[in-house]
């Protein structure tokens, strides 16, 4: 499975985290698992960067943290999207799509 993996481009980790949390609140481990699953194992979240990113987003007020009980009855820190976070996600997602389209156009040129 290693061959298919690609490194995350700079700045996309935040976007992926926000998008994942848009579905439901999650703890850190689950976020990385979810990203990996959804991307069919192509995207591997560098675990060393995940937590600093979470804390950074929390500081910016885009996500908020709350302690909850996990699936195995353990205490875990759940992150959820804030209203600011939702707005930011919308803007970032829009930007991302534009970029993808633009890059696609350039890559497809004859």
């Amino acid at each position: 499975m290693g061959d298919e993996r690609i490194d995350l481009p700079q700045g996309t980790l935040d976007l992926l985290i926000l998008r994942t949390l848009a579905i439901e609140p999650q703890h850190g481990w689950a976020i990385s698992e979810r990203i990996q699953q959804v991307s069919r194992d192509v995207l591997q979240v560098p675990q060393g960067s995940l937590y600093p990113a979470l804390h950074r987003l929390e500081r910016r007020g885009w996500i908020k943290a709350e302690w909850g009980i996990s699936e195995y009855n353990r205490r875990a820190k759940y992150y959820a999207l804030t209203r600011t976070g939702k707005a930011k996600l919308a803007i970032s997602a829009e930007g991302w799509r534009k970029l993808m389209t633009a890059v696609g156009l350039v890559m497809d040129m004859k």
Partner: protein, 871 residues
Amino acid sequence: MLFDLWYRLRAIVRRRSVERDLDDELRFHIERQTQKYVSSGHPVAEAARLARLELGGLDQLKEQCRDARGVGLWEQAGQNLRLAFRSLRRRPGFSVVVVLTLALGIGANSAVFTAIRTILLQSLAFPDGHELVRLEQYEPRTASPPSAVATTRLEDWQRMSGTFQAISGYYPGDISETSGDVPERLAGAWVAPRFLQVWAIAPMLGRGFAPEEERFGGPRAVIVSERLWNRRFGSNTSIDGRRLRIGQDSVPIVGVMPESFQFPLREVDVWAPSPVDAPFAQDRRSTWFTAVGRVRPGITLTEAQADLDRVQAQLARAHPDTDARIGVRVTALKDVVVGDVGRSLWLLFGAVSVLLLIACTNIAALLLARTADRQQEISIRYSLGASRASIVAQLLTESLVLAVTGSIAGLAVAAGALRMLEVLGEGLPRVAELRLDWMLVAYSLGCAVGATMLFGLFPALRTASRRTSDALAARSRSVAPSTQRLQWLLVGLQVSLAVPLLFGAGLLLRSFDALGRVAPGFQPERVLTFRISGHWGETTDMKALQRRMYLTAEALQAVPGVEAAATALAAPGVPFEHQTEVRIVEGDSAPNQRILASTRVVSAGYFATMQIPMVTGNPCPQDAPTPTAVVNRRFAALYAAGSVPVGRHIQQVPANAFLGAARIVGVVGDAREEGLNRQPPPIVYWCHAAPVPAPLFLVRTRMEPMALASTIRRKLGELEPRRSVYEMAPLEERLSETFAENRLRTILLTFFAVTAVSLAAIGLYGTLSYFVHMRRREIGVRMALGAPRHEVAVSFVRHALKVSLIGCVAGLALAAVLGRGIAGMLYGVSPLDFMTFSGVLLLVLGAAVFASAWPASRAARVDPMDVLRME
């Protein structure tokens, strides 16, 4: 060691719940990840390892999370602070030495700084104190200091000048207040009109003098001090009908001045008007007012001076006889009050600044040694992922804690030092105004922060440079040669800074010693001095006044235990500084030669009482129909061309109303009348028992003089019950007072010098101890190879001595240059005194040996086996 540190770091980290949360969060992650691996078939241990590995360095990760959260600066600072306290507590010896060093440096510096600010820089404690000036008239032709001002002239200045708000004057006069059982002497001042206007301070009760009270023959009135008011009348607030009984008269009190008003002298309790229109005040040659003025806002000293010069030039044309040869001098009153204490204070300030510098150097050396000792700890923290900035911050925090603790202790030291200064420097100007204030606090904190930067930043940056830390991780127990050189340099620097202080103190001490061995030409031991109250009105009948003095002297001589008694205008050996030009009436030898001589006025019996030997002729006679005088040997040698001047007449130039042409009746030996530290000047002793109503009485006793004090008081009380006796003190005490400032600066400089040398010794000790500690392996190996123990010890001492010697030589060179600065304060010793030079050298080298003995002996006690086992 590594494990221990790891735990300690974690322990600190766990203190806060935020940190615990972070821990929990990451632990949860690792657990979940481990589970995942286990469920995909990995053995448990392998799964856990993989999970951890994926996450990377845990500490680094946490640090990044903290950074990401922007863990507040506050939190970081708090943590640094805790770490700092903990690490300082672990080395109490080091911490105490550093704090004490700083406390001494900052404390002494703050105290002297406060003294300078209060005494030299602050304006006087009067509204717009900078506008106040002292006005003096002087005789440009003699070296005589400026004198008091004649009443009429004072009024002319006031009337004709344009740059002054007011000019006034005063002269001290003691008052015998006779309403109680025993007459009480009150210190009083007679004041010219506009006196309160000059000071711009209003009475707290009542009013100032009314114009009619300032006129001759007008109603009498006095203003009293708050102190006297409270003593006499309690806290009574009604001034109506309150009176003082002065001599025969009952005089109404019209005003009370607040305690803060302390002029001309702190102890003045009564102010009374001196009428300027009195017949006796019209003589332009009778000078008695100490003149003060307040210039108009914005007028400079130079402008005021030019204005008065112009006025005086007009007066010279109007009164050519009396005013032609008079100059006017305007001086800021503050400079008059402060006098030349400034020189001493700046000297002391220089000294304490050097002390602070030594203190900082010392601490830099200690900190350098200590941080080098901690290289290992620091390199471990690096490998655990601490950032360079955080380590520098940590080390700086430690320095800051030391500096702040040191400056708090320093403030305590300063407060104590100021109190001591108040006690030791009782005679000094404005000492009572000394207060610890916010400026001092700011200054002290400034010192602390500066010191922290100075001694904290450097070792911190040095230690925290990764290169050093890598190198030391490899070679943990040895000293980088550059560090060694730097530390020895610091030690040498301290020595070279301490030496000039020590040298200066040595010179001052030797001066004092020389002063103690001076033969003054009179016998100051066993002489009691005092004054008996008198009134200026008595001077209208000089004959009667003199008769009173001689009657009193006779009565004193009848007291058992009294050998002789006399009066004098001023105490012998206390600078009077009244130089006048005189003329020998029959002298035609050198008509163009100006004869300048110190003036002393003494009664018959003065030379016997002071035991000044007669050379030829007779002492002052008691009853002479015409004025007489006695000159000293130096006067005769200088101005009488070797011939005996006895029988000739001498006269002041210009002629003085009170001391007319006087016949010289004798020549006496030279005495140091103008101060023990000055060569006897040419002196004319005018024979007069009472040039002022209350001259100084000098009584030679057979026993300790103060033992006779009460007997003499009783005797004088029987003789003249209405008069009070005051200022009673042994002559030696008066002489010693003239050296109060000298003594104070000697004591302080000696104290600073000793502190400086002690600090340098501590620095040497600390540095050497550190080297011995760091080089134990090398020492052990050398011993194992057969080096004798004493040789090892001696090599350390030798090195310490070498550095001290170099420092000493540099310091002495510095001292030789600086010595010129204090040349004016020395007596009987050259600023390049060889004895002092060698003494300082011996002392410093002795201190160096002493300080290095203990570390060196520890080096000698190193056990080679221990060291080898440690490898």
